[in-house]
Amino acid sequence: MTALLDRSHSGADVALEVHDVTKTFQVARSASGNNRLRALDGINLTVGRGETLGLVGESGCGKSTLARTLMLLEKPDSGTVAFEGQDPFGLKGKELLAWRRRVQMVFQDPFASLNARMTAGEIISEPWATHRSLYKTGREREARLHELLQLVGLRPSDAKKSPQEFSGGQRQRIGIARALALNPELIILDEPVSALDLSVQAQVLNLLNDLQQKLGVSYIFISHDLSVVRHVTDRVAVMYLGRIIETGTTEDVFERPLHPYTAALMSASPKLDAASRPAERIVLQGELPSPLDPPSGCRFRTRCWKAQDVCATQAPPRRTASEAGRVALPVPTLRGAAPAAHAAECHFPLEDPQDAGLRATAAGT
């Protein structure tokens, strides 16, 4: 399986590589007689060391299935997942345990994801009951627990309290401490602040940022809040009906989207600042089609204002920004050194709003 991996980018700085992962679920038959739901359809992505990759898309696009696959809760039908070259789906016993230690997750709902019958201390130290070799003596565990509590901005005395005694923001800190308990190298953050009040969101986002700088951990940040994604991520992958339809640096994707869906998503998200609002908002018609009966060719064509006949018959090719006819910009190197080329799957990618100006300058010189 690992032979399939594209090794060209996998230097020591790439933490996670997902290659062509497909996952299909058997469900009740739909109107058209189909009972196979393709939740992930050829997913490719990489996450660099110490990097934050944003994963955005609407509900039902496959974000959570992807997160579950990376947590080894789902086994892909095909394709590979590798953490530093190691494919977890072939592993057993101790090696599998070691893999699991390295990838942890923080959940959306800090009220549902903490056991109300346990104290904060028990919740945070529970992972050590499985990963026994990490901290062997009670004293070591105690010391580490206090360290973790302080790391996430709680007091050592909080270890004895139960989750109900904490506010939403503090509970999410407990969830983060639990994820950190095994010293992971990658944390999947599934909407980590969307259940929190705005005044508390900033505290948790700042904490995540501090932890990344201190510990060098990589994040996959799943969120529907684009202003948050823009602030906390280095790169972004945009998903639509089980496929990643655009990737690039956060700046490229937000400022110069290639895919019409990305542009619509950016345009539709409300903005506080009047200056950053589009002159004319793109309001897409309709909603996400059923993943049971995805449109032929390009999946987005049923809601796309640029769609033509070819979009219904041929799956769009993946093209980088320069292949799509844009003025070539230098491909930025990010921390983590993951490939940061800006690319999208679309027959008719959008013009760069800045291209006209760049072309004029180029012609003038």
Binding site: N206, Q213, H231, I282, V283, Q285
Partner: protein, 349 residues
């Protein structure tokens, strides 16, 4: 790309800017095992025809409780213990239950956040949409069904003739929200309360629903009270805003003015904590702590524990809402300190 109006016939031109709803000194108490707790304290605002007033605040600030008190839909454990709610000059709090039922739907419509829990799963949507016409207008089932189809068309549900007999679960989230909005505006109310109408929806669908609400507001010249926790939604959709904190109004006024020159440290803190232009990796400014629990609201200013500007006076005396700039009111002893472009951090030092 946006939808166009489909039903011009119900257009009700009226005087714009007329005050439709006037709430003053509203108190709501909740009975708990340990005694009565004040959930909403002295809230007041006005909503005008053809305009949107946003009630902005975080969970537990009393914004939904206020809306339910206006609509007369409070839980049995909660009750209005003071103040007035005037809809078109009539005090709703003094009405009998029977009189209120006549107002509900006909003069006041409400849209809730979670369409799936509001719609009855065992009746077709057409029956539920037609209910208002059968009860308030005495239409026959057949005539009400026809009205339901017209309503569905009006709120942008495709093929209403064939979908009128479908059940709520057969619609997507966005379509269910449209059905809820259709129910709320069925009888052309003067006031529409929308309680987090798009929170459960994806952004592309949220934009559609906001478009729809805006169009209906204009067509019907309704006053809209939009309850939300989203500053960006307020900035885009509302004319006026009341920022609520711990059951009280912290600040209110025209949205542009309040967001450009907030005069309450809570409003300013909220605006500063939004990652607008903040650089990747830079620390966001945040409000320390979390909102107080209703049973532990401090004497004096409700915001003192989180306020960087709090002083002795704030612990002793609760500030009242007062005019701090033309049209803008804030409940802060030191509101004048905020009349600068400096950040809270800079003001403090």
């Amino acid at each position: 790309m946006t939808m166009t109006a489909t039903n011009e016939g119900t257009r009700r031109p009226g005087e714009p800017n007329r005050v439709v709803l006037r709430v003053a000194g509203l108190d709501v108490d909740i009975r708990t095992p340990s005694g009565e707790i004040r959930a909403v304290s002295g809230t007041g605002f006005v909503a005008r025809a053809g305009q949107t007033l946003a009630l902005l605040g975080e969970s537990g600030c009393g914004k939904s409780m206020t809306a339910k008190a206006i609509a007369g839909l409070l839980d049995p454990v909660a009750h209005v213990s003071g103040g007035t709610v005037e809809l078109d000059g009539k005090d709703l709090n003094r009405m009998s239950a029977k009189e209120r039922r006549k107002v509900a739907g006909a003069e006041l419509g409400i849209v809730f956040q979670d369409a799936l829990t509001v719609l009855n799963p065992v009746y077709p949507v057409g029956v539920q949409l037609g209910e208002a016409f059968r009860i308030h207008r005495g239409l026959s089932a057949k005539a009400a069904r026809k009205e339901a189809i017209a309503l569905m068309k009006r709120v942008g549900i495709p093929e209403p003739e064939s979908r009128v007999d479908a059940f709520p679960h057969q619609f997507s989230g966005g379509m269910r929200q449209r059905i809820l909005i259709a129910m709320a505006v069925a009888l052309s109310p003067k006031l529409l309360i929308a309680d987090e109408p798009t929170t459960a929806l994806d952004v592309t669908v949220q934009a559609q629903i906001m478009d729809l609400l805006r169009r209906l507001r204009q067509e019907e010249n309704m006053a809209v009270v939009l309850i939300t926790h989203d500053l960006a939604v307020v900035a885009e959709e509302a004319d006026d805003v009341s920022v609520m904190y711990a059951g009280t109004v912290a600040e209110q006024g025209p949205v542009e003015q309040v967001f450009a020159t907030p005069r309450h440290p809570y409003t300013k803190g909220l605006l500063e904590s939004v990652p607008v232009d903040a650089e990747r990796g830079s620390n966001l400014s945040s409000i320390p702590g979390s909102p107080p629990e209703l049973k532990n609201i401090p004497a004096g200013c409700v915001y003192q524990d989180r306020c960087p500007l709090a002083r002795e006076l704030c612990r002793q005396e609760r500030p009242v809402l007062r005019e701090v700039a033309p049209g803008q009111q804030a409940a802060c002893h030191f509101s004048e300190l905020l009349a600068t472009d400096e950040t809270l951090e800079e003001i403090k030092s």
